[in-house]
Symmetry: C2
Subunit: 566 residues, 2 copies
C-alpha cells in the first residue's frame, strides 16, 4: 500500500463513522480493517482511550503514545508534539492517562511501517485524565493475575483482563444467538428461591431478619421499651374510656357526645396496641418453638440464592417447549480451589419432546458454535491468549469446532479406564463401576485416550440426581457429561424422568420429602412430556477458550470464601 499516494487513499475511502453515542470513532473501526487503517490516511477524527505506553522522542519535542479504548486489543499510535498548549509532554506518557483528542490519520514513514499501517497526529487535546504514576497501582511492568485480583476495579485496564472481557462478551452473545436461532425462549428463572434443589445444603440464605433484629436493638436502646406499669396504665385508659361510652349510651346521650367518646376510646385502644407492641419487642432473631421464625422474614419463609435454574425452567419447557436460562447461580461451599466460585454463571437449556440423544446433539452443536464464533469474532484476542497464556488455545477451538464429539457410555468409559490401569496407567482415584468418574479420569478420556471432546452417557443411578430418566435396565439413568481438554467436565445434562410414578418413587428412594416437590410433580401429573436439558458452566467455557488457569480471572468480580470486593 505504501506506494499509493496518501491523497488518493483519503479520497477513495468514505469518512470513518463516528460512534453513535460518544464523540469519537472506535479504534477498532480503524485498526481492524483489512488494510490496517491505511486507507483512512488524511481523515480528521476524534478518538478516546487510555495510554498503554508513552515515550518522549526528538529531545522532548514530541511523544509517541499507544492508545487503547477497549474496542479491540490493538493500540492506536498517537504522535503528539510539544506546543504552548501541549506541555509538558510527560503528563501524556504516563500509563493509565485518559485522552480524548482530535487528530489526523497518517501513514507512518515507510521505514516505520512495521507494526502499524496508520497513526494519528494529534491536532487538539479535548480532554485529559491525568495519572500520578507514583501512585498508580498498575504500572506498565508485567503484573501477575494474582496481584491484579486485589484491584478488580482497575484490572480491566490490563491487556489480559480486557481480552477476557471481550471473549466473555462474545461467548455470551454467541449463547443467545445460538439458542434464539434454534427457536429457544430466554426465561429468567428466579435468583431468590424457596426450593432447595436436590436438598443440596450449601446455599446462601437471603434474609432481612438480621437487619431487622439490629434495627430493633438500636430502637430499644434509643427508646427503651415501656414498663409493665405503662402497659397497665394504657389498659386503664381503655377501660375508663370504655366506661364513659357505656355510660353515655345508657344515659341515651346525644349522638355527637357518643361519637366523640367512641373516638377517644378508639384512640386509647390504638395507643394500647402500640405500647403492647413495643412491650413485646424482643432483641435478636425472632424465634418460635426454639427455631428461627421465618414467618417473620421478608418472604414469610426461608429463602436462598439459587444453585440452578433447571427445575424452574422445566415449568416453561413443559409449556413453551424450547427454553433456556442464562443467569447467576451460587454455592456457599468453602472451596478455595482455582475451579470454584461462590457466584458464577450457568447456561441451562431445556427441550420438550427431546430425549438424551437430542440433548447430546444440542450440547455438541452449542459448544462447537461457540468455538467457531470466537474464531470468527475474537481472533485478535485469541492470538493474544496464544501468545501470553496457552499456545494451544486457537488450535483447541479449531479442533472442537471441526470434530464430532466421541460418545461412549459410562460402562464403556469404565472399561477403557480399567484397561488403562491394567496397562500400568496410575490414577489416584479408584476406577470401579458405580463410582463417579474423577477429574483425572475425565481428563484421561478427553486429553489422552481420544484427544477430542467426549460425551459420556448412561451413568449409574446411585451417583446422579433424582430427576434423571431411569433407563430400562433400572440401573442407569439417561445422564450425560461433556468432557473437553483443559477443563474436563464442561456440561452436565440428562433426559428428565417424565413418568409421575417413577419420579415420585425416586424422590422417596433418595430420602427426600415429597411436599417441596409437589409443583415439580404437577408437571408430570398434568400433560407430562418427554424432555431433556443440560447446564454449562459459563466460566469453565471461558477457561477452556482462553487457557487461563484460575476461574477468579475470567469473571469480572469474583466471589469466594472471605472475599467479595465491591
Amino acid at each position: 500500500m505504501a506506494d499509493i499516494p496518501v491523497e488518493r487513499l483519503a479520497i477513495a475511502d468514505p469518512p470513518i463513522p463516528q460512534h453513535d453515542f460518544s464523540n469519537r470513532v472506535l479504534i477498532r473501526s480503524i485498526l481492524t480493517r483489512p488494510d490496517g487503517g491505511a486507507g483512512l490516511s488524511g481523515q480528521i477524527i476524534k478518538v478516546g482511550g487510555w495510554v498503554k505506553k508513552g515515550r518522549e522522542q526528538g529531545k522532548g519535542s514530541f511523544a509517541f503514545l499507544e492508545l487503547n479504548d477497549g474496542s479491540c486489543p490493538a493500540n492506536l499510535q498517537l504522535i503528539i508534539h510539544l506546543t504552548d498548549d501541549v506541555k509538558p509532554l510527560s503528563q501524556f506518557t504516563s500509563t493509565g492517562t485518559c485522552l480524548h483528542v482530535e487528530g489526523e490519520l497518517q501513514m507512518p514513514p515507510p521505514d516505520k511501517q512495521g507494526k502499524q499501517m496508520i497513526e494519528l497526529r494529534v491536532l487538539r487535546v479535548i480532554d485529559i485524565g491525568l495519572v500520578d504514576s507514583a501512585k498508580y497501582p498498575l504500572p506498565k511492568t508485567a503484573l501477575t493475575l494474582e496481584f491484579l485480583r486485589d484491584y478488580v476495579h482497575l484490572r480491566p485496564r490490563t491487556n489480559t483482563i480486557a481480552a477476557v472481557a471481550r471473549i466473555r462478551n462474545a461467548l455470551a452473545y454467541a449463547t443467545h444467538t445460538f439458542f434464539q436461532k434454534h427457536g429457544f425462549l430466554y426465561v429468567h428463572t428466579p435468583i431468590i428461591t424457596t426450593s432447595d434443589c436436590e436438598g443440596a445444603g450449601e446455599m446462601f440464605q437471603v434474609t432481612t431478619l438480621i437487619n431487622e433484629a439490629e434495627r430493633i436493638e438500636k430502637e430499644l436502646i434509643t427508646h427503651p421499651p415501656p414498663s409493665q406499669e405503662e402497659v397497665d396504665m394504657a389498659k386503664g385508659v381503655v377501660k375508663e374510656k370504655g366506661e364513659i361510652v357505656a355510660k353515655l349510651k345508657a344515659d341515651k346521650a346525644g349522638k355527637p357526645a357518643i361519637t366523640a367518646a367512641v373516638a377517644e376510646l378508639t384512640k386509647a385502644k390504638e395507643d394500647l396496641a402500640k405500647v403492647e407492641e413495643r412491650f413485646n419487642m424482643k432483641p435478636g432473631i425472632p424465634k418460635k418453638d426454639g427455631k428461627v421464625d421465618y414467618g417473620q422474614d421478608f418472604f414469610a419463609r426461608q429463602a436462598f440464592l439459587t444453585v440452578s435454574g433447571q427445575l424452574q425452567v422445566e415449568t416453561y419447557a413443559c409449556a413453551l417447549s424450547n427454553v433456556y436460562t442464562f443467569g447467576p447461580t451460587f454455592r456457599a461451599e468453602n472451596s478455595h480451589t482455582s475451579r470454584h466460585l461462590a457466584e458464577f454463571w450457568m447456561v441451562e437449556p431445556e427441550i420438550a419432546f427431546a430425549d438424551i440423544e437430542d440433548d447430546m446433539k444440542c450440547a455438541e452443536a452449542y459448544v462447537r458454535f461457540m468455538c467457531k464464533w470466537l474464531l470468527d469474532n475474537c481472533l485478535d484476542d485469541m492470538e493474544f491468549m496464544v501468545e501470553k497464556f496457552d499456545r494451544n488455545a486457537i488450535r483447541r477451538l479449531e479442533m472442537v469446532a471441526s470434530t464430532n464429539f466421541v460418545r461412549l457410555s459410562y460402562t464403556e468409559a469404565v472399561a477403557i479406564l480399567e484397561e488403562a490401569v491394567s496397562n500400568g496407567h496410575k490414577f489416584e482415584n479408584k476406577v470401579e463401576w458405580g463410582i463417579d468418574l474423577a477429574s483425572e479420569h475425565e481428563k484421561y478420556l478427553t486429553e489422552t485416550k481420544f484427544e477430542s471432546p467426549v460425551i459420556v452417557y448412561n451413568y449409574p443411578k446411585g451417583i446422579k440426581a433424582f430427576y434423571m430418566k431411569l433407563n430400562s435396565d433400572k440401573k442407569t439413568v439417561a445422564a450425560m457429561d461433556v468432557l473437553v481438554p483443559k477443563v474436563g467436565e464442561l456440561i452436565g445434562g440428562s433426559q428428565r424422568e417424565e413418568n409421575y410414578e417413577v419420579i415420585k418413587e425416586r424422590i422417596l428412594e433418595m430420602g427426600l420429602p415429597l411436599e417441596p416437590y409437589e409443583w415439580y410433580l404437577d408437571l408430570r401429573r398434568f400433560g407430562t412430556v418427554k424432555h431433556s436439558g443440560f447446564g454449562l458452566g459459563f466460566e469453565r467455557m471461558i477457561l477452556f477458550a482462553t487457557g487461563i488457569d484460575n476461574i477468579r480471572d475470567v469473571i469480572p468480580f469474583p466471589r469466594f470464601p472471605g472475599r467479595a470486593d465491591l
Copy 2:
C-alpha cells in the same frame, strides 16, 4: 389458494425442516408462513404440544384438537379419528393434554377455511401426557391473572403468560442485539455485593451465619459441649506430655524416643484445641463488641444483594469505554403495589467519552429499537395483547418507534406543570422547583401535554444521587429521566461526575462515608474520563409494551413481600 391441487403444492414446497434438537417441527414454521401453511399440504410431519381446546365431532367418530407448542400464539388444528389404537377420544380433548403425533398436513374443506389454511390429520400417536380435567388447576375457562399467580409453575401454559414470555424473550434479545451492534461489551456485574450503593438501606442480606448458628445449635444438642473439668483434664494431658518431652531432652535421650514423645505432645495439644473450640461454641449468631460478628460470615464481611450494577460497571466503562450490564437487582422494600418487585431485571449501559446529550440519544435509540423489534418480530403476540388487554398497545409501539422524543429541562417541566395548575388541572402532589416530579406529573407530561415520550433533564442536585455530574449553575445535575405513556418513568440516567474533587465533596455533602467509595474515587483519581449511563427497568418496558397492569404478571417468578414461590 384453495383451487390449486394439493398434489402440486406438496411438490412445489420443500419439506418443512424438523427442529434440530427434538423429533418434530415447530408449529410456527407451519402457521407463520405467508400462505398460512397451505403450501405444505400433503407433507407428513411430527408435531408436539399441549391441547388448548378439544371437541368430539361426528357422533364421537373423530375430534378436533387445537394444539400449541409455544413457538407462536397460533394453534395448529388436529383431526384425530377413533380407531382401535386411538380410543377413547375423550383422553385427547382435555385442556392441557400433551401430544406428540405424526400426521399429514391437509387443507380444510373449502367451506371451513376461515381461521386456518392448514390442519393436521393424525396418523399416529407417538406419546400422550394425560390430564385428569377434574383435577387440572387451569381449566379452559377464562382465568384471571391474579388467580394464575398461585400457579406460577403452570401459568406459562396460558395464552397470556405464554405471549408475555415470548415478548420478554424478544425484548431481551433486542437489548443484546442493540448494544452489541453499537460496540458495547456485556459485563456481568456482581449479584452479591459489599458496596451499599447510595447507602440505600433497603437491601437483602446474604449470609451463612444463620445456617451456621442452626448447625451449631443442633450439634450442641446431639453432642453436648465438654465441661470445664474435661477442658482441665485435656490441659493436664498437655502439661504431662510436655513434662515428658522436657525430661527426655534433659536426660539427653535418643532421637526416636524424643520424636515419639513430641508426637504425643502435639496430639495432646490438638485434642485440647478441639475440646476448647467445642467448649467455646456458643449457640446463636456470633457477636463481637455487642454487634454481629460479620468477620465470621462467608465473605468475612456483611454482604448484600445488589440494588444496581452501575457503580461496578463504571469500572469497566473507565477501561473498555462502551459496556452494559443486564441482570437481576433487588429491593427489600415492603411495597405491595402493582409496580414493585423484590427481584427485577435492569439494563444499565455506561459510555465513556459521552455526555448527557449522548446519554439521551442512546436511551432514545434503544427504546425505539425495542419497539420496532417487537413490531417486526412479535406482531402476532402484540395482536393478542391488543385484543385482550390494551387496544392501544400496537399503536403505542408504532408511535414510539417513529417519534422523536420531546426533550425539556426539569425547570421547563415545572413551568409547564405550574401552568397546568393555574389552568385548573388538579394534582395530588405539590408542584415546586426543587421537589421531585411525582408519577402523576410525569404522566401528565407524557400522556396529556405531549402525547409522546418525554425526556426531562437537569434536575435539582438535592433530589439526585451524589455521582451525578454537577452542572455549571451549581444547582442542577446532568440527570435525565425518560417518561413514556402508560408507565411513566422508564429510564433514569445521568452524566457521571468525573472530577475527583467535586465528587468527593458531593459524597461528604450527602453525609456518606468516603472509605467504602475509595475504589470508586480511584476511577477519578487515575485517568478519569467523562462518562454517562442509564438504567432501564426491564419489567417496566414489558408493561409498556404489553399494556398489562401488574408487574407480577410480566416476570416468570415474581418475588414480593410474603411470597417467593418455587
